[in-house]
Symmetry: D2
Subunit: 426 residues, 4 copies
Amino acid sequence: MKTPIPYYLGQILESVRDEDGGEVAEYIPELANADPDKLAVALCSSTGHVYSAGDAEHEFSIQSISKPFVYALALQELGLDAVRDVVGMEPSGEAFNELSLGRDYRPVNPLINAGAIAVNQLINGVDSSVEDRNARLNEYFSRLAGRDLSVDAGVADSELNHADRNLSLAHMLRNYDIIKDDAHDAVLSYTHQCAIRVDVRDLAVMSATLANGGRQPVTGDKILDADVCRLTLAVMSSCGMYDGAGRWMAEVGIPAKSGVAGGLLGTLPGQLGVATFSPRLNESGNSVRGVEAFKLLSSDMGLHLMSTDNRVGTHPIRSKEEDEDHAVIHLQGHINFSAAEAILYELQGYDLDACRVALDISQVPSLNRVGRRMLKEGLRRLREGGNEIAVIDPDGTLTDRELSDGTVVPLADAEDYHINGEDVRD
Amino acid sequence: MKTPIPYYLGQILESVRDEDGGEVAEYIPELANADPDKLAVALCSSTGHVYSAGDAEHEFSIQSISKPFVYALALQELGLDAVRDVVGMEPSGEAFNELSLGRDYRPVNPLINAGAIAVNQLINGVDSSVEDRNARLNEYFSRLAGRDLSVDAGVADSELNHADRNLSLAHMLRNYDIIKDDAHDAVLSYTHQCAIRVDVRDLAVMSATLANGGRQPVTGDKILDADVCRLTLAVMSSCGMYDGAGRWMAEVGIPAKSGVAGGLLGTLPGQLGVATFSPRLNESGNSVRGVEAFKLLSSDMGLHLMSTDNRVGTHPIRSKEEDEDHAVIHLQGHINFSAAEAILYELQGYDLDACRVALDISQVPSLNRVGRRMLKEGLRRLREGGNEIAVIDPDGTLTDRELSDGTVVPLADAEDYHINGEDVRD
Amino acid sequence: MKTPIPYYLGQILESVRDEDGGEVAEYIPELANADPDKLAVALCSSTGHVYSAGDAEHEFSIQSISKPFVYALALQELGLDAVRDVVGMEPSGEAFNELSLGRDYRPVNPLINAGAIAVNQLINGVDSSVEDRNARLNEYFSRLAGRDLSVDAGVADSELNHADRNLSLAHMLRNYDIIKDDAHDAVLSYTHQCAIRVDVRDLAVMSATLANGGRQPVTGDKILDADVCRLTLAVMSSCGMYDGAGRWMAEVGIPAKSGVAGGLLGTLPGQLGVATFSPRLNESGNSVRGVEAFKLLSSDMGLHLMSTDNRVGTHPIRSKEEDEDHAVIHLQGHINFSAAEAILYELQGYDLDACRVALDISQVPSLNRVGRRMLKEGLRRLREGGNEIAVIDPDGTLTDRELSDGTVVPLADAEDYHINGEDVRD
Amino acid sequence: MKTPIPYYLGQILESVRDEDGGEVAEYIPELANADPDKLAVALCSSTGHVYSAGDAEHEFSIQSISKPFVYALALQELGLDAVRDVVGMEPSGEAFNELSLGRDYRPVNPLINAGAIAVNQLINGVDSSVEDRNARLNEYFSRLAGRDLSVDAGVADSELNHADRNLSLAHMLRNYDIIKDDAHDAVLSYTHQCAIRVDVRDLAVMSATLANGGRQPVTGDKILDADVCRLTLAVMSSCGMYDGAGRWMAEVGIPAKSGVAGGLLGTLPGQLGVATFSPRLNESGNSVRGVEAFKLLSSDMGLHLMSTDNRVGTHPIRSKEEDEDHAVIHLQGHINFSAAEAILYELQGYDLDACRVALDISQVPSLNRVGRRMLKEGLRRLREGGNEIAVIDPDGTLTDRELSDGTVVPLADAEDYHINGEDVRD
């Protein structure tokens, strides 16, 4: 059997293929020469499954889609405080060609050009040479994509010949001491970043890396902290689509970023990354067919950040076995607050007085901080209520078994609790 | 065992109790007389478990927190198009005391006063009397809370005596034909809506109703469509906190709405609702201690819309059994796109040629549209590949077993597939 | 001989008569019923000569043209400080339908509706009844026009039935404590002010009163202080034409104010008032043909505030007679700084040592403060230089002959200086 | 006798000398090193009389005060349409450091930096070399000042080293095709313009040239057309003082422009130019003591554009002589619309039937177009009424004696009308 997802993606492409509105960006010849009929889509799950349709191996320059990733790299390298010194995180409410400096002269967010130039200058240290900074960016984007990416020198050169707007921004940033470097060098470095060549599969995988808390889901490479991804996605969600942010959130509901070459990338945290390519742009500078494809992804595939059924997961208690003096609760899935809440809620309903109770977390791939804290507190309270407690944790997933009272919850062997009892759930 | 969640909520209250900044709203005596030391928090899971701490039964007027719910009711009663005729869905970028009308003179979103007045006028039909509209709103909010709510007549009367701002807005809305009713009556009805008395538990349950796709999780009452909840949450996420929307999304990441009486409500779609109460407000009109409590809920409890670990669920294939000519794949949890993708991904890896294959969905509580479509397409492709197919669906969860080729996938009995084989997963 | 000025004015009307663009204001039936073909112009010199052409006796409601005059009355009654407490004096840069409140919530200037309502409330004291305030305004506008003006009750009633915008403004002004009165009463009074009936001759005379330093040039009635007129004209010049203020100043150069009924009034300080009437309005709410007529008045008649030839007056020394030991300098015209400068400049060039010198101011109608001060200082210095000094001032125009050294310059009789000498000028 | 005007100017300096608020501009060392105590004022009448007090010969860089003059030169060289292609004429409502581009990307007016850079590029043709453009500007400013001006090379160099803001503007102007030249060259040329060294006497004379319709009043050099001066003064009046334009017009009422080196220049059309120097600036970038001095010039000397007594000139009929069959009307002063109106008004009151009438314009220095037209029409109507007409015009001031009916009004000799009659005026 072949999974039908590529077929579904292909159907979406066919649905939008006849949209012939919009114009290819024409401010530089290299973009003006783009084939307006190219059309592609790719999707990558947070588990690293990649699907695509259309001209999925057609390469184009990443352009503004690089912005959230370089912002993430700056956060990773320097931390939020240092990054916040040069750029805010509020929507601009303005088109991409305005200065969009705030009252404190910082660019209002990292997804407008002024903010992106300011953030680019942080990479590899403010004293970095252009060459070293570019090398650092190449290496970073290649790790994100999971393959060696190259720079489109023709696009970069052409952009430099039409860089008055960005030079204007760079000089103004220098004027307000937001950047220190020579304005021309700043634009050189930023232009390099925008000229990196990608295809939609690269973008989908890069996006899935953000969705996956910073671990590249195909290579397994841990590139960014989960906190960095969370901040980056938050900024994408409020500042990513130039105008009509409210309507985009309502109609599409996928934090997204577009590029002037025709790329459009979206991320559903914890779930997947998706990307489209079609070079004709609407007046806001977003890919016309890309926007339509995202609307279909949202409506037909139910992909929407606010969709209330995206997260109605499986119950975290897989099963429970008990006899007169033993009880084993088999857990499953990642344990976060909601999962722990559900586990503890059920535990407090059980009549488990004065018996041995074990939580089996052998099928739990991970716990977050609050999930771990809550499970351990539940165990402590069970013991306080008279139970003997243990965990079945062959892989050491719990990492730390010390409870808040200083005692340590003992490990048990699964076989100690081999009970031929019934599954008491349902 | 008692669940420690109330204890954790209590800890959050203690962490913020010493924040004594801000001022109780003073524009009407009834609010000015509020006890500034009252402090409460409540949380309701999308499964209807309610937890609280502090002055959780202290009642206060709902004020602006009513706005997203009345917007949802208007969407439910009239549909998006009709509602969009009178109100937009873009952030205002402005303080709560501006007119915030867009270029087409519609209020820019339903969470500013002008928008909320316009939306209030839609309820029960634009020709409704004030009394009937108020009765409709009372009934609606009582269903949301799961108990009969009353109106604080003192607050309502006092607001009417200090209603110049709202009267100004109502007259301007009339001037642009956004509302039809007498301006005084419009303000009367809106003021009533704001004076409904709630406690934090009510708010948490109401919020969880949005999180739960419109089904009140305690009473089971289906009040709103899932689409309506999705739109409402999208608007809350982009327009809910008056200014600093980008920073709120980054730091807290919980779509939220505050009220001038001191309430603050937040929703994590699919997960939970949460609410706090503390009457002292900051300059933006948000509860000082409420904002701090939300920051702790986000950081300490990992509650953040962009948190990449909120949705890393259990694998939707609970287990698989097979012998030479039979295979049963036991599924679990809600099947949405991501779950279906994972199932199909695994199916295409199996070597299942020329045998009988059954999907067991007896432990699947629900499928959304795309999940159902994908599972059925997977079955069709298995048969196309030479397999004999069936579903084990004792509760009729699949609802419709017709495949895209017009055939119907047969039902199988679980016992037909009783295989003493190994679970082949892991 | 008949002066050709009415003919010239008629020519201007013919030049603009074919302009059929724009629309009659339609928000109330009484304005919508206006005859769109009516066309009139009038001009009044600061000396009280009135000229007109077209439908000069056609009456219409004064509408917003009342605003600068009521502002002037408030300044006259209360002084600048009290008026500045409720209204600013900056351009709004915005259309007439915005709130245009400044950061301090005061309306930004008195020529937008919000500002005009705030100023109206000052008239006759903030505690005045509507009836008394209206009576005061009636009496004031009648003095300005030099005839009893009436109120168009039909227009006033109709405006009240469509007063949502103004009620909105009044409620917002109350909300910020800019006005104290009931919002409905404030709008009642403001609507009355706008419904006063005038014709273009009335407007021209009223405007010429401002041009003439507050003295009605036909009746001779002194209604406003010169300082009040100066402030009013300054505000008209920067805030009078809703948008395009810079272009209006460049192209037309006549401080002006328009009304929605079709009136347009302009003032050249010290020179004249002019007014047109034609009911069809452009998108900015200004009379289409009125604007064109003003452009012609500016270009064809050289009427422009910045025109450098408007003020190249006659030399203030009419003639000078002298013999061996006497000199009489005959002055003429109003003596302000520039005139006094020219006089003193000439005096310092004369060789007048040790003789009797008299300044003849019998043909000087007036001196302003600095002109008087400079002439007296010139006399003092002549005496200090050895001359015997005197003034010929049969009408007491100088009013105060005490010099800065405490001495008094003596009066001389014109006949004492009857010299059969030559006029030494030129 | 010595004229007291320098003494008065000195008094104004003493009144403001103690104002020690504000800070010397510090963004370049050359300005930061300015002596903060320097203080000067100068005034030049439109007749070329120059007065000054304080450090009147202290030179400083002209900076932004160059802007209106270069705008005037561009208007003179290219006409309004060509200039309007690159710059608007509306107030910016914004501080001097904003881009202030309008919706069409043209700078909103020529007195903000972006507009001034755009206008600078027009001088000497858009293809001019920087050297030739600078030479043209040097020559122009030297003609305006009536002496050879030099450029402060230290200031120019220093500005270039801190020119990020202007480079930012120049790149943005290039981006929108407002300027064609290399951005660095554009800033080089603009910086040169700003570094021209002047003293307050130079500025007063330059300003008086605008006041005088473009004729330098000391040298008599005709540099600019009157229309150009009128437009320039209109733009100065609406855009000259960065913010608070309305309040400046009300309180001071002198169209003005300030420079960051401490200069402040004002012009009263038709009357005079005035300038001050004091390097300490307020937050708006205007000289603190300069602003105070201008307030005193306005209040104490009655210098205010809206002052209604600035233009109450002498009556244009100097005297009238008549006997039975002759009448001579002796006119005086410049004849514009207002003067002609007054003459015609009087003429129509006279009983001059069937006699010879002559207008004596030998004491009329000039007539503007409408004045000439009106006088000739009056003569034509007198003849139509039965009079024999003539003009006494020994200097040919009327230039063209052809009436609208194609006939020519004859010249008369003054002696033909030697009448020993009384002056019939008054």
